[in-house]
């Protein structure tokens, strides 16, 4: 909180909103209460719209890579295709297989989706443009993402289907083994920014625009994080839990209708979330390649002027989303480039390659921080 006060605070919608409502004669508590649902709903809507965009991009880019056209008739360029998909899933019959555990079967997808959506709590789109600047921000995300394998295991086990069970087990094994290098990569970042808060992590990167982004100081960490994020999202080349050639659809085999839609939504929200967090941790978050403060200075504008604040906030959102979607594009391209790994190769990569490298990376970062406190956030 103190560090945020030191840096120029930028656009603070909450303060303005509460002030405006208090001006209308509401008590501060009531004004805050009225404000509370707004960012939550906004972020939820943004996440779902992000998924729709993501699904459309996935289908269009996949089509382009394979020299097809892809969805074309639902809306201009097929932009409404994800809506049509979603609508179909909503109206489909919801089946619980005979002799499956109904309660766990229903709970599984919920447990997969809810932590992913909760993680959006800490994704910053600007200095004050996030639901809550939690002090343990990035740690919250890591701990929330470890709830997911329980949901996967639950749905795999309760489906009463061998493919589902195998898929669930694989998902759990994969999530657990890739969470460790992921956490270690994040730890190196945290070491440099002296804070777990996502806002502080971004602020620490935005001293000199693109040059001060963490990717230059943590190239190895960036690669580790990206690989682990792909594995956590069960994207190709790590989509073993739902490998259709071997396991039909893994833990999703018995699901249809709304419950399947939850899995679908969850996996895509998770992909967008991972891309957003990579951009927050390594690519300067909402930072423009040239710091907005410098640009304002060159143009002779005060950073606190309302217009400048508006422009800063807008560029912040645009930059965050742009970086995230560039990473999503990269993930989709990777999907059609790299073949799926085997389960033993997957675990080999996780435990024998990424884990030691992440550990070395952490140690080197710590050493560099001691040796060059200027460059590595002393």
């Amino acid at each position: 909180m103190e560090t945020t006060a030191l840096v120029s605070s930028g656009l603070d919608l909450q303060a303005s909103f509460v002030d405006a409502l208090q001006g209308l004669g509401l008590s501060p508590g009531a004004a805050r209460l009225l404000w509370l649902p707004l960012p939550m709903v906004t972020v939820l809507v943004a996440a779902v719209v992000g998924v729709l965009v993501n699904v459309w991009l996935e289908r269009k880019i996949s089509a382009a890579v394979q020299q097809r056209i892809g969805p074309e008739y639902a809306g201009p360029l097929g932009v409404l295709q994800p809506m049509a998909d979603g609508l179909k899933l909503v109206f489909k019959e919801d089946i619980i297989p005979a002799r499956a555990d109904g309660l766990l079967f229903t709970l599984g997808p919920v447990l997969v989706l809810v932590p992913v959506i909760l993680s959006w709590l800490v994704v910053p789109f600007g200095q004050n443009l996030l639901i809550s600047n939690v002090g343990v921000g990035i740690f919250l995300w890591i701990s929330l993402s470890s709830i997911q394998p329980i949901g996967l295991l639950m749905s795999g086990y309760s489906s009463n289907n061998k493919y589902s069970l195998l898929g669930g087990l694989r998902a759990a094994a994969q999530s657990i083994s890739y969470e460790i290098p992921l956490a270690l990569a994040v730890l190196a970042i945290v070491l440099m920014s002296n804070s777990l808060s996502t806002v502080d992590i971004v602020n620490q990167q935005n001293g000199a625009g693109i040059l001060s982004w963490n990717i230059w100081r943590q190239p190895v960490g960036f690669v580790i994080f990206w690989i682990c994020a792909l594995a956590e999202c069960e994207r190709l080349p790590f989509d073993l839990p739902e490998a259709e050639e071997e396991l039909v659809a893994g833990y999703q085999t018995e699901y249809s209708g709304m419950k399947f839609a939850l899995f679908y939504l969850g996996s895509y929200i998770n992909l967008v979330l991972s891309a957003l967090l990579v951009s927050v941790l390594y690519l300067g978050g909402w930072g423009f390649p040239v710091p907005v403060e410098w640009l304002a200075g060159w143009l002779g504008q005060s950073v606190d002027a309302p217009v400048v604040q508006m422009i800063t906030a807008t560029t912040g959102i645009v930059m965050t989303v742009l970086k995230a979607y560039l990473l999503v594009f990269f993930a989709i391209l990777l999907r059609w480039t790299v073949p799926r790994v085997r389960i033993d190769q997957l675990l080999d990569l996780g435990w024998k390659f990424l884990l030691p490298i992440a550990l070395v990376n952490l140690l080197v970062t710590a050493a560099l921080k001691l040796a060059f406190p200027m460059a590595f956030g002393g």
């Binding site: 089509a63 890579v65 020299q67 056209i69 391209l333 059609w336 790299v338």
Partner: protein
Amino acid sequence: MFGFLKKVGDYTKEAVSAAQYLGQGLAVTFDHLKRRPITVQYPYEKLIPSERYRGRIHYEFDKCIACEVCVRVCPINLPVVDWVMNKATKKKELRNYSIDFGVCIFCGNCVEYCPTNCLSMTEEYELAAFDRHSLNYDNVALGRLPTSVTSDPAVFALRELAYLPKGVMEPHGVPANAPRAGRLPEQVLATLSQPSAPATEQTATSSTAPNPAVADQGAQS
């Protein structure tokens, strides 16, 4: 100590080369992004089937002599030839003929062996049906001619790759009268007969030799 360092070095080398291969693969997929789609937008565009396409079989009732050769050469004796012997004329009288295309494998043996050429292959391949028994075509259904892709106003006909002009890979926008790459068998035949012609009448070479060449070029372009 040295062995360990060597191990680390080898491991690093392997990781770097793996990354290089990944980069190569990504370059390939990225390059494919800017290429044009090669797909045929099926119900609106259709490929023109090749000359020897083995589609639904066409049958001419009036030519058929009910010899049942088609049944004998068929791998599963599929055609049903329903005839009766007319005692008075001592001739077979054909009453019905049918082929079940739900079972037919389109091998073309019947077409090959039919002594009166009453069977022939068409270019029709859209045989989807709600009931497989509706694919059992009787002689009336077998006698219908399919709609040609090129004459169907609702369809944009596309040529297959081998039928495109030389150097053209994209069937869209190729004019209908543009000649295909290479020469047709007749054209090849025309060039083959050319050397034998001057050998028989050597005196007229100067006047006749240019003519086939001109005709040949005219046929190609």
